[in-house]
């Protein structure tokens, strides 16, 4: 037993870091360090650099560009990206759709969509959630009625992240409203966002950002050959998708970057006549977070090591632990950032900081200190709330 990285693993980490240092735009990196997200084009540019390097879709089958990395290598890669920080791999394309197509897709679907997805020639989004469904995903109502070689889709999706910038959407639709169980009668469709009848309405989040959308389908014609897997068996596809790629779910790299940003700012902020970083209360808070990060880091490695030994394809229930503890850390570190900013974190002036030319009205960091706190309240909600995750732990492990 040895918890340390091997020399090979350290070499790998260094290689990834060196690549990021060489290829990532330093200006983007600095903007991300203080909490800003990359633009669509920046994400595309970055994804293409990774694709050129062969690192764009590590979890895919090698014939479609996937890598032969060990789970530890994958972890190291993810963490290096998050810590840099660099843009994450575009999740809908890479961790969600890709493996699904590679597994369930027709040869034609694979040949056309996979290379485009890897290179972000198509930007995909996910149409699963619906109003009224929430965590009860299978109660979805969006209807797809077969008419000849087409499905006619009517209904509504919600919480559709990046729909406003997406070229395609993969969606769960109800093809058999009379199915015995609600999980039956669902199909998995690929839909071009340019198809007539699709309307995207923005949802603004409480941090003022626009990531989420509602997507309305009004008699949208979708060719049948854009269905993945059998009709009415889309739930199998969804389950496969949701069980996939839990590596990195803890997002520890992001928490680490958050902590660094908070401590760095605390060096610049004065409190009681000295830098805030010298305040004992602040230091204790940092220390506690460091303990929690270390514990989760090791637990994550244990989960990954265990996953690499088993091959039943089922998601490890301990990924719920990673999700819960990981989001707790994301929230704790973003709270620390906000509290470090203090009163200077309260204005909405991120976009206004430089609006007056060369004369910023506040220190650069001040514009970014509250947004992560606000935005990351969602971390314990999306992907199955932390309450649902505890239900999963109970069912799968505790069996109470």
């Amino acid at each position: 037993m040895d918890l340390r990285f091997t020399a090979e693993e350290i070499a790998w980490r260094d290689e990834v870091r060196a690549f990021i240092d060489a290829e990532l735009d330093p200006a983007l990196r600095e903007r991300m360090r203080v909490g800003f997200g990359p633009t669509k084009q920046e994400t595309i540019d970055w994804q293409r650099k990774l694709n050129k390097k062969g690192w764009a879709c590590p979890g895919w089958p090698t014939e479609w560009g996937g890598a032969t990395w060990t789970p530890v290598q994958r972890l190291i890669f993810n963490e290096a990206i998050q810590s840099a920080p660099a843009p994450d791999l575009q999740g809908f394309n890479i961790t969600m759709l890709g493996p699904v197509l590679a597994h369930f897709g027709t040869p034609e679907q694979k040949a056309y969509f996979l290379p485009r997805a890897a290179n972000l020639d198509d930007w995909w989004c996910q149409g699963f959630s619906e109003p009224g469904a929430g965590s009860d995903l299978a109660s979805l109502k969006t209807a797809a009625k077969r008419e000849g070689d087409f499905y006619i889709v009517n209904g509504q999706k919600i919480w559709t992240s990046t729909a406003h910038m997406a070229d395609w959407i993969f969606a769960l639709v109800r093809t058999d409203p009379n199915a015995r169980k609600k999980q039956e009668g669902i199909s998995f469709l690929l839909i071009d966002m340019k198809t007539p009848g699709i309307t995207v309405r923005p949802i603004i989040s409480i941090d003022g950002s626009h990531h989420l959308n509602e997507v309305f389908f009004d008699d949208v014609k979708v060719p049948v050959h854009q269905r993945v897997y059998e009709e009415n068996r889309g739930w199998d596809v969804a389950k496969y998708l949701l069980g996939n790629e839990r590596s990195g779910i803890a997002r520890l790299g992001k928490s680490r970057a958050n902590l660094e940003f908070a401590v760095d700012t605390a060096r610049q902020v004065r409190s009681g006549g000295a830098p805030l970083v010298e305040d004992r209360g602040f230091r204790h808070r940092v220390a506690q977070i460091e303990v929690d990060i270390k514990a989760l880091e090791l637990t994550q490695m244990r989960v990954i090591a265990a996953a690499s030994k088993k091959s039943d394809g089922k998601p490890d229930p301990f990924s719920s632990l990673l999700k819960i503890k990981g989001t707790e850390l994301l929230q704790a570190t973003s709270e620390l950032i906000m509290d470090t900013g203090g009163p200077m974190a309260m204005p909405i002036w991120a976009s206004e900081l430089h609006a007056l030319g060369n004369e910023p009205i506040a220190p650069e960091w001040a514009g970014y200190m509250a947004a992560p706190y606000l935005m990351l309240r969602a971390a314990s909600i999306y992907g199955g709330t932390n309450e649902i995750q505890r239900n999963i732990l109970n069912k799968a492990v505790l069996r109470l």
Partner: protein, 378 residues
Amino acid sequence: MDFDLTDDQKLLTDSVARLLGDRYTFEARKGFQKQDAGWSADMWGQFAEMGLLGLPFDEAYGGFGGGAVDIMLVMEQFGKALVLEPYLATVVLAGTALRIAGSEAQKSAILPEIVGGAMKLAFAHGEQGARYDLSDVTTSARKAADGWVIDGAKSVVLHGDCADKIVVSARTSGGRNDEAGITLFMVDGTAKGVTRRGYQLRDGTRAAEISFASVEIGDDALLGTVGGGFPVIGRVVEAGISAMSAEVVGSMDRMLDVTLDYLRTRQQFGKAIGENQVLQHKAADMLMSTEQGRSMSMLAAMMVDEADDAERVRNFALAKVGVGQAGRFVSQNAVQLHGGIGMTEEYLIGHYFRRVMMFEHSFGDTAYYLNKLADQVH
């Protein structure tokens, strides 16, 4: 010990509640926010008409001679409706400075204008480098022949963009953190050399960065005594904590109500999500935090006029921490129990969430006051 309200206080509460219930719905508020000022001049007029703008001032100035409890009752209602108008800035903050330190002439000139709704004020004390340290003042006031000259800048001045007059703290002697060398002045918002950059805060209320470049003011602009500003600032901040604590209580009440409603009506897996025991217990914890916070808000109101300095300062530290922690707990869980909808700008919960966040980072945060309390353990 007595928790009863007077008949007048009950009437006050009811009238404010009715006005806001009728006119300050969540939808109406969206409209107010979109106005140029970021709030409603019409509502401000309503507040004047109802007497709210004169609540804490002596009858001699057209006021109603009310106390901190009356302010508390009004602010609780404001917290339920998330009132955007510059009440805290004008009536509570600058108003307290005037009440405590204003000369007869100043009070006669300004208070009736406030009471009638004609004049808005702001309290410009915090600076970019000061964080929560009340004595950290670098804005300077230099004596000139026939008055004073002010140079410097103030930061996150609540409603500083719309204020007709600004109460400004400036250093007249001593080093950066010297308590003794701080003096208060009244400066016109439109005075030469005053530059204001207004912006929205995260909770939708307005504030401004204000800079002073050789701003010349007369001797009559002196508020209180030279070098005597610091204790006044302390009392102003305490009045602000008390008022805003009550707002947070109102907000917590609403968040709890709205959340309970959601838990009762939202269906998932074929039943109301409120049937989940885990969510029931979380709601019970929210209830307890709300009640504990309410107690602490009452403590703050009770302490505003406490004469014993040590007793007052200590209790304000206890109250600020108590209300701040309660607010954070309740607001975080209100979002969590709502799920995705709680994260959206369209829905009301997120607005309460951000008002409560604003409170915790106004007038000193939880860590700041825990430090103060810790200093006293020995």
